[in-house]
Symmetry: C2
Subunit: 338 residues, 2 copies
DNA sequence: GGTTGGCACTCGGAGCAGCGGAGTGCCAGG
DNA sequence: CCTGGCACTCCGCTGCTCCGAGTGCCAACC
């Protein structure tokens, strides 16, 4: 177990390094933090911390830099989430309140988060599987062509084109629409398959094909990979880390373009509470020198989706965590109002 | 007027520079293109081209590089749009055919375009003002809370929350919904304001307030800045130009994050035919060292929106133009099928 | 007049040496 | 266990030379 002072030294190293972006030496440490001990003592502590793998030196005669393990310890034990200032909170509120629909909410959230943290922001749309059905609409576009529109309590709208095996009359359509809504409106999505299973039986044989097609399209929207959507922003912030550039930034940009990667990233995070994944803790190899701070958000107690930021492992964790948590809270409120 | 051979020299310079990314000298030119003249002659031609402002040298003793004006001449006079290969066209078709809804179409198009051109792709959603109304849906969420859902012939779906001045009954709602659709379904959006202007008059006084609110929300969706949406992708391609990095890439990324900037950029392009804006021809200052190749796409003759790519002025114009045109065509087809 | 080879000149970039300074590890003394 | 002192390491900056690609110009040629 590390002594209290050594932890303090680690904390100081992390803070300084995050601030200056340069390896920090023993002398600078004693000057900027009043550790009440001499540089020589700090050097001994540093040697111990390095021994344990919490810090490392890039070159033999350079200062120390925290390792992933060091950041881990910092986040777990040494960092307090930094609450936002009152003006910041007001700004969030004002900015989000102007949103006109879900796309707008998500879009604004991304921009907001990117601006607050000065990092890349990722916001997931509310998951269908954790929402309830608000309404199902069926429109006839052509004699044998329907459009299915699905609306959730979180404001998400999904649409699908349907080619029917046979023409489907207006009255039958109204009938199907009514019965569908009667069964599933207000219900949670995972329940839907069970609730509609026997619906085709109550239709005439010549309509049953179309009804089945509609239902299978409906069910597909729930399992498909398109079920989960997300939006990212603030990629320009990546350019703030000018050192060894293309090498660092490129794999990150590539990873960010892969929705699948991002979804998996968010999926790995805990459902409740904030998750911080540091450097190599991220499975994707393009993201081994980045950290991901994410948290679930939702209108009620339960999270309907996640949001977070992606940044260099050398990031201001307390501040970032504070911003992420605050934004998630406000987004939850906005969703609840709708 | 420049002689035939000098134009040929300019073409060769552009092609070489685009290929090698390095200033091209007179000797290299004569070797790689069979110009049938000696380096000395080419030097004279180069001096003339430089005099006219088509090329420039980065440093006194370096090769020549095309200027924006040089690229302009190249694109206008010297370049043929390069058609895609048959496999490429098949790939496009296959890739786009799997789309399930409009978001998916746009998303796939962005990825496709980014991959084909190896540049940043921008795709605008079909503009509301150039679409026709397919259906308007009104849902009651709470006694005095409605949701308006607007569906266009291009598959776009817009939603808005509406707070009513007074509770609005189910039958009145059905009535309003029916009348709204009767009036505007199948009509072009710009006609809508005219078509619904007198609608409140036919309702009872106590309902008129809500009807007006609904209508004004409907009309707002048409003028709002959110009317135009777009999606971008392929930003990782920016990292391919490793030289003088952060300086180049950052303003571009920043510009790309500003939807407004991008919309203006696409808006400046011609409605029909392909538009190429080179370097300083772009108003936005972050984009003065990039070129934008854009074209309208649509299900019929008329363009409903635009798509394009953003890349360095040093880009393969024939290839890029070919890819952009081809993708626009296929997207138009897909939209027409829905 | 346009084209060509020759030639002197320019200048950026690679390669190398020197050195200054920040930082370290270790040791002896408090 | 802490501290000051000291020798050592090594990164990175500066200044230097040298090389070569590329140019402009000129005289000769067709």
């Amino acid at each position: 177990m590390l002594s209290e002072r050594r932890l303090e030294v680690l904390r100081a190293i992390v803070q300084d390094y995050v601030g200056t972006e340069e390896p920090v030496g023993s002398k600078a440490l004693t000057e900027r933090h009043n550790l009440q001990v001499s540089p020589a003592t700090v050097r001994n502590d540093m040697a111990a911390l390095e021994e344990e793998g919490y810090i490392a030196q890039p070159h033999t005669s350079a200062g120390r830099v925290p390792t992933d393990k060091g950041y881990r310890l910092f986040v777990d034990k040494l960092a307090d989430v930094k609450p936002l200032t009152a003006p910041e909170r007001r700004a969030i509120q004002n900015f989000l309140d102007g949103a006109v629909d879900l796309d707008d909410v998500v879009g604004r959230t991304v921009r907001l988060l990117a601006q607050l943290t000065r990092q890349v922001a990722v916001v997931q749309y509310p998951s269908l599987s954790r929402s309830t059905v608000r309404h199902v609409e069926l429109l006839s576009l052509a004699p044998a062509r329907l459009m299915l529109v699905l609306i959730t309590d979180t404001g998400r709208v999904e649409q699908r084109m349907i080619d029917c095996p046979a023409p489907f009359g207006e009255t039958s359509l109204a009938d199907l629409r009514a019965r569908l809504n009667a069964r599933i409106a207000g219900e949670r999505f995972p329940e839907v398959p069970r609730l509609v299973a026997d619906l085709p039986d109550s239709f005439d044989a010549d309509e049953r094909g179309t009804v089945s097609t509609v239902l299978s399209t409906l069910l597909e929207t729930l399992v498909e990979e398109t079920e989960e959507r997300l939006m990212i922003g603030g990629t320009a912030n990546l350019t703030r880390f000018a050192q060894d550039f293309p090498l660092t930034i490129r794999p990150v940009l590539e990873a960010l373009e892969e929705q699948v990667v991002l979804l998996r990233l968010l999926g790995e995070a805990k459902d409740s509470g904030m998750t911080v994944r540091i450097g190599h803790e991220n499975a994707h190899e393009g993201l081994t020198s980045t950290s991901v701070v994410s948290v679930g958000y939702g209108s009620g107690d339960e999270a309907v989706a996640k949001l977070g930021v992606v940044g260099p492992t050398r990031m201001d964790y307390p501040g970032t965590m504070g911003a992420v948590r605050a934004v998630a809270r406000y987004v939850g409120q906005i969703l609840a109002e709708n």
